[in-house]
């Protein structure tokens, strides 16, 4: 503003200048501003809810391992807990009234009834699996060898084995820590196939004692299964991720579809 000496008797300029001399241009509407924020927040929360709900959450929730006493491994005494899960050729339907993978794609195989487990740290974990699915050859025969279990073995239909034929695999249970969690921990257990892909007479592929004990008339039409039992010592606290390494999915090398959708062939083990 030019110097106003000599013009002091003129009325003060009534130009619409705000006190800060900013060309303010408009009113600051607190209501409008809050409305913008609220709408944005609603959008963020709504979209966030939409994405959160896309994660598979089993209605059974996280399976907490049952405590069955104490055990000694390599001279160290630790709690002994057990876990149970099964592997099914399709995710539809239910077993003993418990849905295998509710809301899932019915043609996709699934681990069930839940894909989230919880065990205590530094404990002996014994896992019991019933394997109902067919299978075939692994992409990498490395996964046919049992790794990281107590004794380096798994017990298939009552017999302890160190590895399976890489062409007779249905699924694997491959477990490692989330990034940074217990770098030395690793478990890989191959699960044998339960029926050939063209549904032949079951022969050597369904040898669980329970199944064989049933009469042939009962067996007819009932899905056969193998039993697998293995034990490992859990690592330090944290989240561990497990997944299947047998290509039971679609598309390139069989890792599409259920293999790439969380919850069917993948899940978490929480060590607390």
């Amino acid at each position: 503003m030019p110097d106003s000496t000599g013009q002091a008797d003129q009325p003060k300029e009534t130009k619409e200048l705000s006190t800060s001399e900013e060309p303010s241009g408009s009113r600051w509407g607190a209501f409008g501003f809050l409305l913008t924020l609220v709408v944005a927040l609603v959008v963020f929360v709504g979209v966030g809810f939409f994405f959160w709900s896309q994660t598979y959450k089993s209605p059974v929730g996280t399976e907490v391992a049952q405590n069955v006493g104490m055990a000694t491994v390599n001279g160290v005494t630790m709690p002994h807990v057990t876990l149970y899960f099964n592997t099914y050729p399709d995710s539809a339907g239910s077993v003993n009234g418990v849905a295998i993978h509710p809301g899932g794609n019915p043609t996709w195989p699934a681990y069930g009834p839940t894909n989230e487990f919880q065990v205590p740290a530094h404990a002996l974990v014994t896992v019991y699996v019933r394997q109902y699915d067919s299978g075939g050859s692994l992409n990498d025969p490395w996964f046919a060898t049992v790794r990281g279990t107590v004794g380096g073995v798994e017990i298939v239909n009552g017999k302890a084995v160190r590895s399976l034929n890489p062409n007779d695999i249905a699924h694997t249970f491959t477990l490692r820590g989330a990034p940074g969690v217990d770098p030395n921990f690793f478990v890989n257990v191959p699960l044998p196939l339960a029926v050939t892909n063209n549904n032949e007479d079951y022969g050597p592929y369904c040898e669980s004692a329970q199944y064989l004990a049933e009469s042939s008339s009962v067996r007819q039409g009932n899905p056969c299964y193998n039993t697998v039992e293995f034990s490992f010592v859990s690592g330090s606290k944290g989240v561990y991720a497990w997944n299947c390494e047998y290509p039971c999915g679609t598309s390139v090398v069989g890792f599409g579809g259920p293999m790439s959708t969380f919850g069917y062939m993948s899940g978490f083990l929480h060590v607390v």
Binding site: E21, E22, N139, D140, R147, P183, N184, A241, V253
Partner: protein, 271 residues
Amino acid sequence: MSSEDLVGETESPPPIHKPFFSRPGGKIFIIWLCMTAVGVVIGVFVPKQIMPNMLSTEGHTATVTIVLFTVLAAPVAALVYAVGLYSLLAWRHRGPRDEPPPDGPPVRGNGPLTVVWLVVSTLLCLVLLVWGLAQFTAEQTPHSNELQVDVTGQQWLWTFSYPGTGVNSRTLVLPVDRPVQFNVTSEDVTHGFWVPNLGVQIDANPGEITVVRATPDKVGSFVVRCSQLCGLYHAFMWTSGAVVTSANFSQWLESQGASPATAKQVAFVTP
């Protein structure tokens, strides 16, 4: 002053020599110097604090390159920042905001300055290039008696096999001071074989074998991560590794199933 000075004198007034540091160029120079100093200090100290422990010559090269580039970048950034800052301090129009200020001087360009700028930026570019090409060529050169490690990436695990020993392991163990050649492939999609502590990275491609080399020169542990998005469990595709002495390496090979003779033979080859 006699009247002679006032009449008939057509000389132009003597040029005013302002001292350098009271001219805009001088003040900007001071600001630039301070900013460069800060940038150099940041470059020399900060990356090393936050980068992981480097265990190989390639890793050291990466760190030195990063520090060098930060130090060289400091004066470049400082120049732009100094002029920008000075323009706000000295040339900002202070007056009513809704009236435009008077026009500035009608300078449309400065030939010599443009030439100097182009020459300096070209030289800087050349320095960086020569440095980079030298390091790059050094890393591509094979050494003799390299330890071969076959790396297989697959969804979603790394496995490492040591040809001739029958060892096929989930963790990567390397002997110190021995050049290594990684032959990397994938079973399915593209993965990124990345060992930050060794300064090596190469993609694992299905149907191809790609090669990367390193020479570990310090004992320590490291992490192997997957750097190329590969699907559902890309985040979990990591594993641990260690650089150990040759003796420990031989023992480890045996523990993974190699025969004692093969283990010693592979571990103790002198380069």
